[in-house]
Symmetry: C2
Subunit: 253 residues, 2 copies
């Protein structure tokens, strides 16, 4: 059975640990955490370590820490020629320390500690320096997810940027919707079915097919009325830029 | 039983007609359509008319046509002192012709002809000039939806603007994600679970609690790397503006 250890105790690490605990296809050997309490509920205490020198030899070490800490953690590992991967969407595989074999194990999802998630639906993007290591990663990823892809570092960066648009920026648009509701004594709940349907449409339709609204219709009267209604300069600016982008996009089609 | 007729055959009209056909709480008397073929599949031919003079007296006339045509249609109706409503999120109730009693019946949702939708989950925003007409609208709305609210014209405009942000603009961010995938030989499918989860989080969490990403973390290194990665000036500009907005929003909290 493939032996895996995880370094980290943040959102990604916690969700990985939970997913690994549920499968019989691999053995989760150890979890390194500078803050053992944060992982203790999901794991036997004996498996939790906080000293790199206690790390046992395994088939795969997954560094699931913030981007800024990955280079340093990979340097501190007390062994060499092991398969070591990070979980970052943004960092190149090459950033890992040269003393070990490198790879990437990037689950493309937005993780929130308080919210459970079905790991089997999460796309896992894999990269490795050689085919045998790639096979190991593929086996580990397939044991927890139904969607496993080979993605090189440049493509992974593209996905990470795209994810910022479709997830982080989208959530900020929800924030603006929330703010507009609040200013007008309206419950944000009234927008929630619309938010769900907008996401649901994209399962089957292309974004170009799903696009609706005044910008798509080039309905300048409604656009101008909306701009007069908005008093917040920042909201106005975002409205103008995204409206222009939708209109320009329509011209390309 | 309340008698209702619908004017129009676009997305909103079609979905309303379908919903009304399914309930036994009201009688759908007639549908006016300049293009009878577009509604004929869902309705008995005898009910479809294309001459305003054929309209029978009913309890409620719903004008479900594009914003630009509402004023003219309400003027052409061959009767007076009837309850006449429009379905627009943007137009004031007062825009309807003065010869009839006015109201608004605004279903807050994004409708696509090719996609069925559970009407019971759609919030319906109602407005009327008097309480007795409001009760009629409330009965009609409640017969097809579980979410019925009293919303005045200013609040409705706010909702319409908010809907542009959370739905039309969000879909455009999906479009940008799609474009970035295409440019990098990636399937857009890989972003779909993230899109669904981003929408799903908002059911339980506030947008401020659900916000993640480099802007939220003020991770300027990743932000700069993303900006260097993007070559499309329009995408760059949207990235900058939304990133700034997330950072500024964080300062307010």
């Amino acid at each position: 059975m493939i032996k895996v250890s995880v370094i980290g105790s943040g959102n990604v690490a916690q969700h990985l640990i939970q997913a690994f605990s549920k499968t019989d296809d691999l053995e989760l050997v150890q979890v390194f955490s500078r803050n053992p309490k944060s992982v203790s509920t999901t794991l036997a205490t004996a498996k939790i370590i906080s000293d790199f020198n206690d790390l046992k030899t395994v088939d795969l070490i997954i560094i699931a820490v913030t981007d800024n800490a990955i280079v340093e953690v990979s340097k501190q590992l007390p062994f060499q020629n092991q398969l070591v991967v990070h979980t970052s969407g943004n960092l190149a595989m090459e950033s890992l320390n040269d003393k070990n074999r490198k790879g990437v194990f990037y689950p493309l999802q937005t993780f929130t500690k308080s919210k459970e998630i079905d790991f089997t639906t999460i796309p896992i993007c894999l990269e490795a320096q050689n085919e045998s290591d790639f096979k190991t990663l593929e086996m580990v990823a397939s044991s927890v997810s139904d969607s496993v892809s080979r993605i090189n570092s440049k493509q992974r960066k593209a996905l990470h940027v795209a994810a910022v648009f479709v997830s982080n920026f989208t959530n900020h648009l929800y924030q603006i919707g929330f703010d507009i509701c609040k200013e007008n004594d309206l419950s944000f709940d009234i927008l929630k079915p619309l938010i769900q349907e907008t996401a649901s449409k994209i399962k089957k339709l292309l974004p170009s097919e799903a696009q609706t609204g005044p910008a798509k219709r080039k309905d300048t009267q409604t656009i101008n009325e909306h701009l007069s209604f908005l008093t917040n300069e920042n909201q106005k600016e975002i409205y103008k830029l995204l409206t222009k982008s939708i209109i320009d996009n329509g011209k390309k089609l």
